[in-house]
Assembly symmetry: C2
């Protein structure tokens, strides 16, 4: 069957409308585990690829062509706004992003530069425009990191196990923390609005590390800033997906912050998670990405279990509970997409 | 006030008996953040210190002397049983434990050696005997890792973000996984029993990484082995603490596996966590260890909040929700211990 993208399964599910089958896409699907992508990566760094709109668009399309995903997610990175703010970083193999000048003091925050989105991140919007020209049936998702998650990299200087430096700033220099979050949120709002203006048909806010926070810290230090972004996106009319990992105890607060669709990781059965979120919102998830390294038999069992728990209620988007991993067997990705469509056919 | 150790606040709380004040100890308290310990570490590696019973006992006592903790936890490491099994590892600064010959195949599992606990880990039991001679009022906690957590290091070769290799073994070679867990569990049971025989007055099973698993995987691949250890420890009559992190969605299963006291991390309010666990068990937690880097004002607020939620119900042991971090300001540790005692006085 064919859809125009505005009438696609994915956007319908975002709006909690009836669909012909459950839509499926995979976080971080834009290429990284695919041979087509790995081949391009031999020639370019990730940041070089993101900086070239044609290349970013090409990578975005790879999984759509190969696996018939129900949505395309722009090939980009949540850390792209850092360099325009004056915070330099690089991706180091085996270590993840390494920030050269972490933000730790009031002076560091004061030194953060305002960002002219189109001037410094225009290549992202250009990739979106190219993609909207190419994608006729598949909707395009834009995204940004949530302020807490982006700030945690900027403060810690890279991935962290305990977020000691970031939380210490919250606790011991709350005025520095809040000044930082204000600035960062403004940059992120403008960046996400520009993506929507350029043609993103839905957006996702990635709060990947929010699971490190307890409820009171989330409410005081992260939620107001996430809410600003979620509200701004919501006001444009595009569906908004609000994603976290390991955040099952703060799902009610994440819902309160905003989002038409709330992400569920694999730690909670989908029906229980949806009960907590409330049926007035959609949910996205919740396959453990490591399951994609298993057998067709186990995958079938897990896919069926998730679909059974979703019970064809309008508003479920099938996805992994966290980004798809490198080295994921491509045949399993293909199999899961087919299974979701087949087993959920209305 | 004085207690004999058997009549101490800590053991009473483990048995859900009334106490004069809430007992408090800190996971990984045995020295690592203390200047006294750092000084010893200039001369010895962690494994050298553990191997010398006098030194291990000395480190165990450091926080008892400095902070009047209500329980002492043996200075040791959950990975100590690896070398006797033939799996070599070392602690590498900035990387954590690095296993030289990870266990990944049926042949690797077959090659694992049975362990003569007293011959190869007797130094741990010797440290316990020394400590029982020195500690008159403070009870001593022995411990081991839960099979899943220990196996995850042995399979992955070190810390992991996704447990891809460990979970892949569960999914794709379940017979190898189960054979491995059988062997490992036998070693861990014997090791823990030897600690109890030597004088450990309570034991804790550390399933630090169990939060990576969803319910079905925990139930099929981890829980039966944890249960074997928990049952064996329980049968001796000493109180058993069952600890996990990020495991809030599987708390009912962890309770089912066993434990007189269930650990709660900081992601769940203590009263909600205790409701899930059930009031027929004690709970231990649930301060975010990073809070110890904050101000006396915030610490007081958080300590009072936890105590208010515990509501003086018998069976609460105050602790951090995960191990205390290096560089933790010692004056804050002292302050929290004093606050817990003062604010919880019956």
């Amino acid at each position: 069957m064919t859809n125009t993208s505005e009438n696609s399964r994915f956007l319908k599910a975002c709006r909690r409308e009836e669909v012909d089958a459950t839509p499926v896409w995979f976080m971080r699907q834009a290429g990284r585990y695919m041979p087509e992508y790995r081949k391009l990566r031999e020639k370019y760094t990730l940041l070089e690829m993101v900086a070239q709109p044609e290349l970013a668009a090409e990578v975005t399309l790879q999984p759509i062509k190969a696996f018939k995903m129900d949505a395309a997610i722009l090939f980009a990175d949540i850390l792209l706004p850092l360099k325009p703010m004056g915070v330099d970083f690089e991706f180091v193999k085996g270590k993840g992003p390494q920030v050269h000048n972490p933000v730790r003091t009031a002076a560091d925050v004061a030194a953060l530069k305002p960002v002219d989105t189109e001037a410094s991140l225009g290549h992202v919007m250009e990739a979106i425009r190219i993609l909207r020209g190419e994608l006729t049936e598949t909707p395009l998702i834009g995204f940004c990191g949530a302020p807490f998650t982006v700030a945690s990299y900027m403060i810690e200087g890279g991935p962290s196990k305990d977020y000691r430096i970031a939380k210490s700033m919250m606790y011991n220099a709350p005025e520095v923390w809040h000044a930082f979050m204000e600035k960062l949120t403004t940059v992120l709002v403008n960046y996400l609005m520009a993506q929507i203006d350029a043609g993103a048909q839905a957006v996702q806010i990635f709060d990947s590390w929010v699971g490190a926070l307890n409820g009171p810290d989330y409410e005081a230090f992260a939620m107001p800033y996430s809410k600003r972004i979620l509200d701004a996106a919501h006001a444009t009319g595009v569906p908004v997906i609000h994603f976290g990992v390991g955040a099952n105890t703060i799902l009610p607060l994440m819902k309160k912050a905003g989002g038409d669709v709330i992400g569920l990781d694999w730690r909670i059965p989908l029906d229980k998670g949806w009960d907590i979120v409330g049926h007035d919102r959609g949910v996205q998830g919740n396959l453990d990405p490591v399951t994609l390294f298993s057998t067709p038999e186990l995958l079938e069992k897990r896919v069926k279990d998730i679909l059974r728990r979703a019970d064809n209620r309008p508003g479920h988007i099938f996805n992994v509970g966290h980004g798809i991993l490198q080295h994921t067997p491509n045949e399993n990705v293909k199999a899961v997409v087919e299974m979701v469509h087949e087993f959920s056919k209305r």
